[in-house]
Subunit: 243 residues, 2 copies
């Protein structure tokens, strides 16, 4: 049976962490909002799901995963749900919690990256909060971004199973998410990201290894991978790439 | 054996969600940073933990829970780890994921409440970002706060086991966290919160029921409960309570 992913159809956004997990595992899924309205998909299907009063576990916001009767929202909860079936997390409880902890820290980094261009409010245009964005981006590029990358590096270096993965000796969804964050940081902050990544060789090698994973590599080459753009979380506004 | 909670000693903050779970379960714990430096506790102990190079699973930021050799950070991950032992979540995997999903949405609400007074950056004083705070708080009070509370209300109303709890027919950590958020919103935005809560009677009743739980009630009366203040996440700045 095929999973249904419900997410905004024109951006990578937070849905990309779920897409990458499904793709890396070779799991069948339908990216519903990217389908055609005529086939009962598209944005109308996403909108219907968000207001469906028959759901006893309603989503607050996309991304939403549907697996038969099970409906799960919140990126980290979706990954927590999917990962054992997709074999993208170790079986023991402590490794699952550690992987979740890393994912939640990645989510914090993603939120901070987003807030560089929307510090005052998501309901306003970037152009209406540019002075604040410059202040926020300066702090992000000089302090927060390097701090997060150093934390990932320390995990990789200290991993008792070796520096090939974040958790244990096998690919987990945390590796895929770190890959995605490095992609996003390089897109949005090419200069600041390269400067910080020069000090985190373990992160760079892990990123490279994930990109080479055959299913991930095939996905990245495919039309299913939406290019980064200036509607998503990671946006290339050169004035915010402060080194 | 006693749990160790490592969190900032003068605020409720995100650590309060962990404190409430431990207190409601009657679990023995030490609030380390609130102990005395002489006893090897206090803020120096928290600082040491954050830079301890011997940890293979290092925390990025407080709160941090230590349970013997296990060290877990990130509020939602700590609760995911603790809840089965504390009997604050159902045993089955789907209920655990649903409870996690609610907790993560509460965490999003908490972040948005925080950003009303610190939209531009946490490294700046509130006084240096007041115009932006007013814009952000207006949006929060009129749109976001009611939207979140309506979502909690819909979960309570639709709960197949009845409206006494968020998940199933028993107290879970999600109930405790919702209680805490209502407390915080009422402190920070007394007018806006009351107006929104008037439309969510199920949330109000659940909040009241949690407050009456004997261990929670005893905790709230004790000196262990730090009062809300203007260093935490929920701050009372009357100019931001916009109705």
């Amino acid at each position: 049976m095929s999973y249904e992913l419900h997410y905004w159809p024109t951006i990578q956004g937070r849905g990309e962490f779920v897409r990458l997990a499904l793709e890396a595992a070779g799991a069948p899924y339908m990216d519903v909002a990217r389908g055609s309205d005529d086939a009962g998909q598209g944005l109308p299907a996403l909108s219907r799901l968000l207001v469906d009063r028959a759901l006893t576990e309603p989503p607050f916001a996309p991304p939403v995963l549907r697996d038969g009767k099970v409906v799960v929202a919140q990126t980290a909860a979706i990954l927590q749900y999917l990962a054992p079936t997709l074999r993208l997390v170790a079986r023991n409880e402590q490794a699952r919690v550690w992987t979740l902890q890393i994912q939640l820290t990645i989510a914090d980094l993603v939120s901070e990256a987003h807030d560089t261009h929307h510090p005052v409010g998501v309901e306003l245009f970037y152009e209406d909060q540019k002075p604040e964005a410059l202040r926020r981006a300066a702090q992000f590029c000089s302090a927060r971004l390097p701090k997060y990358l150093q934390w990932f590096e320390s995990i990789i270096v200290r991993n008792p199973a070796g520096p090939r993965h974040l958790v244990g000796g096998k690919l987990s969804y945390a590796d895929l998410s770190l890959f995605q964050v490095v992609e996003g940081l390089r897109y949005a902050f090419p200069k600041a990201a390269e400067r910080a990544l020069a000090r985190t060789p373990g992160v760079l090698r892990l990123h490279h290894r994930v990109a080479q994973q055959p299913r991930v590599a095939a996905y990245l080459r495919s039309a299913r991978r939406i290019p980064f753009n200036e509607q998503g979380i990671f946006r290339r506004y050169p004035e915010l790439d402060l080194v």
